[in-house]
Symmetry: C2
Subunit: 157 residues, 2 copies
DNA sequence: TATGAAAGGTTGAACCC
DNA sequence: GGGTTCAACCTTTCATA
């Protein structure tokens, strides 16, 4: 199935699983879409195999878990190495996400959770050692997520 | 239970659910930690009630789903209104995440997925109407996530 | 590709320590 | 707070069209 081969059922599945990927059963989605649970199950398997669904993650409020030092570290990477450096950064202890930006100087944004200032220094140091040029650190207050509304539109095919 | 009342079992639960929040059963975690499945279930319930776990989301590769226009919109909000504006931004169709930054001029970063350039213009317009000052747009190539390694350390309490 | 049925695993609730 | 039991639910696998 090609890239554009995502139909209404697939979109509804993606929307439902973005909203609650743990408690939403195949049956829940099947009932709303008037198909059988096993049809939904197979679609989910296919979306996972295709790499459209890349995982299911519990969203953690680090603040409430007792870790207040959530920081965005802006980095620069030579464009040919950006992807590999982003993958490497994701392996550094303390890193929770990496965003690659297509253009501009600061083209890799690393989100980290540190236990204290020494830990933050260690993380920035490890990123530098990988070959990323660290240009700034910003304290993150909060990050919130929501399902993409485009998956829930009962229209364009 | 207070903020610091997160013990080793809680941390292992958070780590496991960050890695795979859908296929990881209470029993899987229970076996590794040598406790009963119901103990794990009760802990998960408590973490959810406390707001430490705020949700379970399927991670979608929008590129593979057929939507290449993933953009980070940098905004500025007056500090007293930042939190409310961030909440409002999350409700705009097309927005998938909002990151609040503690300091600096560009203190709200909105990640959006747009179907085309007109759609992107609409989203930026709606953010402006809310009262956010839009200062820049960057094309996101990719964003990847990983569980926080700090939850998997068998040491400090 | 969608469906249905049987087998096995998972969960939630009530109860006990 | 942790553990046990059991009924209800969910998923997996296989057969079928």
């Amino acid at each position: 199935m090609t890239l554009q081969g995502i139909d209404e059922l697939d979109r509804q599945i993606l929307f439902a699983l973005q909203r609650d990927g743990r408690e939403t059963s195949s049956r829940d989605i099947a009932e709303r879409m008037d198909v059988s649970p096993s049809t939904v199950r197979k679609r989910i398997d296919r979306l996972e195999d295709q790499g459209v669904i890349t995982g299911y993650r519990a969203e953690v409020d680090f603040d409430r878990a007792g870790y207040q030092l959530q920081v965005q570290i802006s980095c620069s990477a030579p464009v040919p190495e950006r992807e590999a450096l982003a993958d490497a950064a994701l392996e550094v202890d303390g890193v929770v996400s990496v965003r690659e930006i297509a253009s501009g100087e600061e083209n890799v944004q690393v989100r980290v959770v540190a236990t204290d200032n020494d830990d933050l220094t260690r993380i920035a140091g490890e990123l530098s050692e990988l070959g990323l040029s660290v240009s700034g650190e910003l304290l993150i207050r909060r990050e919130t997520f929501t399902p993409w509304a485009g998956f829930d539109e009962r229209s364009e095919e």
